[in-house]
Amino acid sequence: MITRPMIAAVLAATAAAASAAAGPLQVTSSILVESRAAAADGTTRIALVKPSKVTPGDKVIFVLAYRNTGTQPLSNVVLDNPLPRQIAYRSANPGSPAPDVSVDGKTFGSLATLRVRSLDGSTRPASPNDVTSVRWRLASPLAAGSQGQFAFQAVLK
């Protein structure tokens, strides 16, 4: 059995480098990796830790934490994370809503709705490896003082 600690608890320790953005919406990006350790009860506990030892093929988890530090609600909030080119998208992290994804940075949707044009002009369904950007939209305004986070899993190419 695998238990998964709440990401937010880990973030509290790792988000010390939160940006000092001037606007009311504060967005903090973190990159984490899973660390598996055997727990006393025989289960495997997965902790998210700093990406200290990462080699090609390893899974990395990108976390976007957002917070309204202002006094007014923020509407139409969109978080957009272009992927570093060394990173291949895999899926939303368990517990996080799935992002809309894009293979061209312009058109966003679920992966199943996207297609990739091959060199010979034909198109094929997009795969997670084709994703170049992920995006989340908040459906309702973000009240003053409230916060949340999104996360997705990826691998280092």
Binding site: F108, G109, R137, K157
Partner: protein
């Protein structure tokens, strides 16, 4: 730092009506090879946000977070020839060929060494060691060992997913009992970066990690599964054999003669007078027990003042010591002078050349410790 906030529900599905996103596959041109993103690369992430406050559109940028890609050390060593190297007793500078591939996500040196420790189950019959071993890299890239040209003894600055051909050059001792020598090439991943000298062997990082430092992570497997190599040690190995296929045997030929009859005494105590028939007996012996001799060819020019008796050549006569035991045409299988007869199974052949007055007999395989006799007759002029 903060209390857990409410995760907002998404406007799920709202993008379903947009047209297909079409991207061409040009991104693959920049994709790293199988070894992956190069060690030392800094992977940097920044998110963008947009929102509106009281109808005014605004944007925000997250902090920039990054990590450094660590060195995933892996290599592949294979034999680069389909079979063992076939050699002769006493041969010098016999070559076995290997190929080393750098599967590390970075440019590395490779240190080369060899081992002749017999590997269980790999070389049955390994009964000798080669000597004067040298290991050279194929400097000119032609895949063939060139003495004096291929002189570098370590692989220098091999890029990720690149391969180098390596030669082991060794001498075969002059010992007739030699049969097979297994030899193993061992490649050790070493630090790259110095184009003029070989780097130090890499060691796995054991210290607590630092995001900003390129750690060394061994990812190589157990390349032989036979106990010679172990996984995750930055080493790879492959084995080949030097196989003795050509060796000298103690081959000897004895020739004897016997007068069969003469015109006066006929077969009763015949004398070597004109008109007498003389049978020559050639006995070839392979004195090296256990080693067959291949393609033994007997040639004999008939003596002056004699005339070859047509179709008198026979082969396979029973021989004891240097004497053909049986005489006459029962002393073996008769052969035709034109070479058209082949002895079944043994494939002995023979012929007589009337121009050169030469008797030929060929024995494809002469087993060690055995003899084969051939006879022919002449008349004295």
């Amino acid at each position: 730092m903060y209390a857990k906030g409410v995760i907002r529900t998404l406007m799920a599905g709202t993008a379903a009506v947009v047209s297909l996103g079409i991207a061409t596959n040009t991104a693959s041109a920049q994709a790293p090879g199988p070894a992956g993103t190069a060690a030392g690369t800094s992977v940097t992430n920044t998110a963008q946000a947009s929102y509106s406050v009281n109808g005014v559109q605004q944007s925000a940028t997250s902090n920039t977070t990054s990590f450094v890609v660590d060195r995933k050390v892996n290599l592949t060593v294979i034999a680069n020839q389909p079979n063992n190297t076939q050699v002769a007793i006493g041969q010098t500078a016999a070559v076995t060929t290997f190929k080393v591939t750098n599967n590390t996500n970075g440019t590395q040196d490779f240190l080369l060494s060899s081992s002749q420790t017999p590997i269980t189950n790999l070389f049955t019959g390994d009964n000798f060691d080669v000597t004067n071993i040298h290991i050279y890299v194929d400097s000119n890239g032609n895949g063939t060992y060139d003495a004096g040209t291929d002189t570098v003894t370590y692989i220098n600055e091999l890029g990720a997913d690149q391969s180098a051909v390596v030669f082991i050059v060794a001498d075969i001792p002059n010992n007739q009992a030699n049969a097979l020598a297994g030899i193993t090439l061992i490649a050790q991943v070493a630090a790259g970066g110095d184009t003029a000298a070989q780097g130090l062997p890499l060691a796995a990082s054991v210290a607590p990690n630092d995001d900003a430092v390129v750690d060394v992570v061994f990812a190589d497997n157990d390349s032989d599964g036979l106990g010679g190599d172990v996984a995750l040690n930055g080493q790879g190995r492959a084995s080949l054999g030097y196989e003795i296929t050509t060796r000298n045997v103690a081959l000897s030929v004895a020739k004897s003669q016997l007068v069969l009859n003469d015109p006066v005494n006929l077969a009763l105590s015949p004398k070597a007078i004109p008109g007498a028939v003389v049978q020559y007996c050639l006995i070839v012996n392979n004195g090296t027990v256990g080693t067959p001799a291949s393609n033994v060819v007997l040639t004999d020019v008939i003596p002056a003042n004699t005339t070859y008796v047509t179709n008198s050549l026979s082969i396979g006569a029973i021989a004891l010591g240097n004497t053909c035991l049986l005489t006459g045409i029962v002393g073996g299988v008769p052969l035709a002078d034109d070479g058209s007869v082949t002895v079944p199974v043994l494939n002995y052949t023979g012929s007589f050349n009337t121009n050169t007055k030469t008797v030929n007999a060929t024995i494809p395989v002469l087993l060690g410790g055995t003899s084969v006799a051939a006879t022919f007759r002449v008349t004295i002029n």
